[in-house]
């Protein structure tokens, strides 16, 4: 058993978890963001599986009382400290994160799919991947194993389907509701944990400044008309995969043609006017 254990310890990897400040959907109070917390849960699962794994937690943003309370929500999951890349409100988080990640070079970066406040565009993991030149896998359900610099991942696809992927490290993975629920945040560890505050070069997010922000609204769903005579038919209709109708499959087209087709559809659907 001894050599096995030794080997396992060698396999421990550096994981960086990026966390943001969340927002409760009904009250809007600051809290740990749902998806980011699931990301940290994933990292803690890797740590439990792979002794020797080191988790660092990163947040880029300003420091104040309410944000600290929210960030301590993550620390209460069992981390002793986190790194805070301090930058003024309204700054672009991507540059300092890229700088920090490039300097500390973790093997795996875990993020949530999208933030719960601000733009919430979900672009951050993609922007990071582009800057760092690392592969990105989205909608992670779980990390199955890490071996010789290759990580085996389970990606969640619609309707409960899963896809197993092997990715060479370093890589960025983003999690959404498919990943396991985050553990409870405990008050004691959260209170004791410390912040390592680093001031970074920050750049005002000029694009964000131009935007007009409004609370998100739920888009109305299209009615699915089911003409079923029996309970069995209704059940089948509810459970079965809806067949795409009236769509158009584009293969072997130039990017311009593809964009043209998408633009046309958006016009037809009244998304763009």
């Amino acid at each position: 058993m001894q050599p096995d254990l030794h080997q396992k310890q060698q396999q421990g990897i550096d994981v960086a978890v990026l966390v943001s400040i969340g927002r409760h959907p009904t009250t809007g109070r600051a809290r740990r963001a749902e998806q980011d917390a699931r990301g940290l849960e994933l990292a803690l699962a890797i740590e439990a599986e792979l002794p020797g794994t080191r988790i660092s937690m990163l947040h880029a943003g300003s420091q104040d009382d309410s944000s600290e309370a929210a960030l301590r929500g993550y620390l209460g999951m069992g981390l002793e400290s986190m790194t805070l890349l301090e930058q003024p409100e309204g700054s672009d988080a991507i540059l300092p994160l890229v700088e920090h990640l490039a300097a500390t070079s973790p093997q795996l970066v875990i993020t949530g799919a999208r933030a719960e406040r601000g733009e919430g565009s979900g672009l951050l993991p993609y922007a990071l991947a582009e800057h760092l030149g690392w592969p990105l896998v989205n909608s992670l359900a779980s990390v199955e194993k890490v071996e010789n610099g290759v990580v085996t991942l389970l990606q969640a696809l619609p309707r409960g389907q899963r896809r197993r992927l092997k990715v060479r490290l370093p890589a960025i993975i983003s999690v959404d509701e498919a990943a396991p629920v985050a553990r409870q945040s405990a008050f004691g560890p959260a209170r004791r944990a410390t912040f390592a505050i680093t001031t970074t070069t920050s750049e005002a997010d000029s694009e964000l400044a131009q935007w007009h922000l409004a609370p998100a609204r739920k888009r109305p769903k299209r009615l699915k008309i089911v003409k079923a005579a029996s309970a069995r038919d209704r059940f089948k209709a509810a459970a079965s995969k809806s067949e795409g109708k009236g769509g158009q499959v584009l293969t072997d087209v130039t990017p311009e043609q593809g964009a043209e087709a998408i633009y046309k559809l958006l016009k037809e659907e009244d998304v763009l006017r």
Binding site: T26, T27, R31, M77, R183, Q184, S185, A186, F187, G188
Partner: protein, 667 residues
């Protein structure tokens, strides 16, 4: 020969008892400090023992009398024996008294022996089975050696060389008795309860529970707050040594009579909790070792002998087993039936919540839906995660006056989290109708109200409780009111008994108390009761926690209802299973507690069970195929209301238009 042997025996036993006492005290002192007035406690001890304790023990007349004869006889015999045989004051008067005392003790021990012949399951066996024999050995031995002192036997009978064997046998019997009674008292035998029990009464952490000559309420049920300002202070209890020293002393006082076990709803439901075993496990943890020597009923579904601990080892293991499993702690409904029954006044619920605090605050291990409920409380101020702005939606048509508008009022109606529950909204509407009929000047906080923090606190999340409580206290401080009325006994208890420590002092009334007062003041008139037979289920947090047993019954009486009492009612009422976050943590058992309670209702033959708590309503209405209907007292009152004639209504012009319209709407 005996004349030289007896003093040696007596003083050896006394010396060993003193050494044992020092060792035992050192075990207790492993605990954390606790502020206790030692002198005042010792002075109060006789009264606490003879009055307060007697009230509890006296519920079982037979055992009470047995104990008076045995213990009284023993104490008298012990003191007299030290004088007569230890110091050699061979006074015939003292000798006669000693004969009397040992006879009384012997008679007592016969009754103790009778109880041990076929002991009920709740009693611990093991070393306890030898106790009647030891009591007899002591009393008979002392009796016999005293006979020569009073001249009933010739002095020389035991001196002659021929009878040295008799003398030796007698000395052996006395030594056996002395060993159990003196030595065993401080070294951990069954008689330990006498030493630890007496000191536990003197240094009890809830001195308020005891009466004084001036009276005294004798009820102290609010949990003690954790100091969250001090970051070095431990959050709850991780290991036995984290209990305060007088808590450890309290555990050591347990007589293993199993009265707690007999009333524990979780034990009866087959959930892995037995209050007696839990206290014994704490004793094992304090002294170090395993529970293999425990001789009573185990935790249902958990064999004895698998758990072990030490004063500085964890109580609940991170992995595997330690002293106690977490599900044992989460099975408790905090109904306090065990505390109410305990003849040694042990505080089981405090200990359980202390250990839960550690699990929640330090480990983040609140089971099942616990974490979700706590997150909801933090983010939305209510356990269900509802939009706090919708707290008053059920009353959209009632035109309820808001505190924020009128600032000053007689009665502040505290809605509780039942405001989000459709069943309890019916109760609340009924209560509003009653208040309007009695022309009570009341208002609600509306969306300014938050959860009282009861669930958070019982689940061990002291931080969330204090956050909610402080914000509620700040809100209440903005307004002026004479009293708070609520239909939720849990809010009632927390607001009335637990906010005080955080700076909020209020006069709080349960709606049944308030309605009873309104009726007594002639402000309510009821139509005669036409329904069937009714029983009343006492909510734990109203009855046992706050001593309100009469008001709900008086209200039912005023309605013309003759209550058919269940076998377990009043201070012995069985819990509905809804307290202490038990429905949230949901530890599986063999039966459900509400099913057992509904069975009690069925046995009483009642067609309707009157309740006074949203939790009880929810739990009892959740029983499948129930034989009785469940209705809140407020609903029964609202149904029976009679419009009073204009003469009865003093100052009819006082009626506001709002109340008239609202009544019309409700009816």
């Amino acid at each position: 020969m005996l004349e030289t042997l007896l003093p040696i025996l007596i003083f050896t036993a006394l010396a060993l008892a003193v050494i044992g006492a020092v060792r035992r005290i050192r075990l207790w002192r492993q605990g954390r400090p606790s502020r206790v007035n030692l002198f005042k406690g010792l002075v109060a001890l006789p009264r606490r023992y003879l009055v307060d304790l007697h009230h509890v023990v006296g519920r079982d007349k037979m055992i009470s009398n047995t104990h008076v004869a045995t213990a009284g006889g023993f104490v008298a015999a012990a003191v007299l024996m030290i004088l007569v045989h230890g110091l050699g004051i061979a006074n015939p008067l003292l000798g006669g008294l000693l004969l009397l005392a040992s006879t009384s003790m012997f008679v007592g021990s016969l009754f103790v022996a009778r109880r041990r012949l076929n002991p009920p399951a709740r009693l611990s066996k093991g070393p306890w089975m030898r106790l009647p024999k030891s009591l007899m050995a002591f009393s008979i031995g002392v009796f016999l050696i005293t006979l020569p002192t009073v001249g009933l036997l010739p002095e020389g009978l035991l001196e002659g060389g021929s009878s040295w064997l008799l003398a030796l046998v007698l000395a052996g019997v006395v030594a056996w008795g002395l060993g159990e009674m003196f030595f065993g008292m401080t070294w951990g035998g069954p008689m330990k309860h006498a030493f630890a029990g007496a000191l536990h009464l003197a240094f009890h952490r809830r001195a308020e529970r005891f009466s004084t000559k001036k009276g005294g309420a004798g009820r102290s049920t609010g949990l003690k707050a954790l100091n969250l300002e001090d970051e070095a202070a431990p959050l709850g209890v991780e290991k036995p040594a984290d209990f305060t020293w007088n808590q450890l002393l309290g555990f050591d006082a347990c007589v293993q009579c199993g009265r707690c076990e007999a009333v524990c709803p979780a034990f009866a439901a087959g959930q892995p909790l037995n209050p007696k075993k839990l206290i014994q496990d704490m004793v094992v943890g304090m002294a170090g070792g395993s529970d293999a020597a425990y001789a009573g009923s185990p935790y249902p579904g958990k064999p004895v002998g698998e758990h072990a601990g030490s004063p500085h080892g964890p109580i609940v293991a991170l992995e595997g087993k330690a002293l106690v499993d977490a599900d044992t702690l989460w099975s408790c409904t905090t109904c306090r039936a065990c505390v109410e029954e305990c003849p040694m006044m042990i505080e089981h619920v405090d200990a359980i919540v202390d250990m839960r605090r550690y699990l929640t605050l330090e480990r983040g291990k609140t089971p099942n839906k616990g974490a979700e409920v706590l997150d909801n409380l933090i983010a939305t101020d209510n356990p269900g995660g509802f939009d706090p702005g919708s707290r008053l939606n059920w009353a959209a048509d009632l035109n309820l006056p808001l505190m924020s508008d009128i600032k000053q009022v007689d009665v502040l109606l505290w809605l509780g989290d039942g405001a989000f529950d459709m069943r309890n909204q019916r109760t609340l509407r009924a209560l509003v109708k009653v208040l309007r009929a009695a022309e009570v000047d009341f208002a609600v906080l509306g969306t300014e109200e938050r959860d009282s923090g009861d669930v958070a606190r019982r689940l061990g999340d002291e931080a969330t409780f204090q956050s909610l409580a402080k914000r509620n206290i700040d809100t209440l401080a903005k307004y002026r009111f004479l009293q708070i009325v609520t239909c939720d006994p849990h809010s009632f208890h927390v607001l009335g008994n637990e906010y005080g420590e955080l700076g909020g002092h209020y006069e709080v009334r349960h709606h049944s108390t308030f309605i009873a007062e309104l009726f007594d003041a002639g402000r309510l008139t009821f139509a005669p009761w036409k329904g069937g037979s009714v029983t009343y289920h006492d909510p734990c947090y109203l009855g046992r926690y706050n001593g309100e047993f009469d008001a709900p019954r008086n209200v039912l009486k005023a309605l013309g209802i003759e209550v058919k009492e269940m076998e377990r009612s009043g201070f012995r009422s069985r819990c509905c299973g809804g307290g202490g976050g038990a429905p949230i943590t949901d530890i599986p058992g063999e039966r459900r507690i509400p099913d057992m309670r509904m069975n009690d209702v069925k046995e009483s033959g009642a067609e309707l069970v009157a309740v006074g708590c949203p939790q009880c309503t929810a739990m009892l209405e959740g029983v499948v195929d129930a034989s009785a209907e469940v209705r809140d007292i407020a609903e029964l009152v609202a149904d029976a209301l009679v419009e009073r004639s204009a003469d009865d209504v003093s100052g009819a012009s006082r009626r506001t238009t709002a109340s008239t319209t609202a009544e019309e709407v409700i009816v």
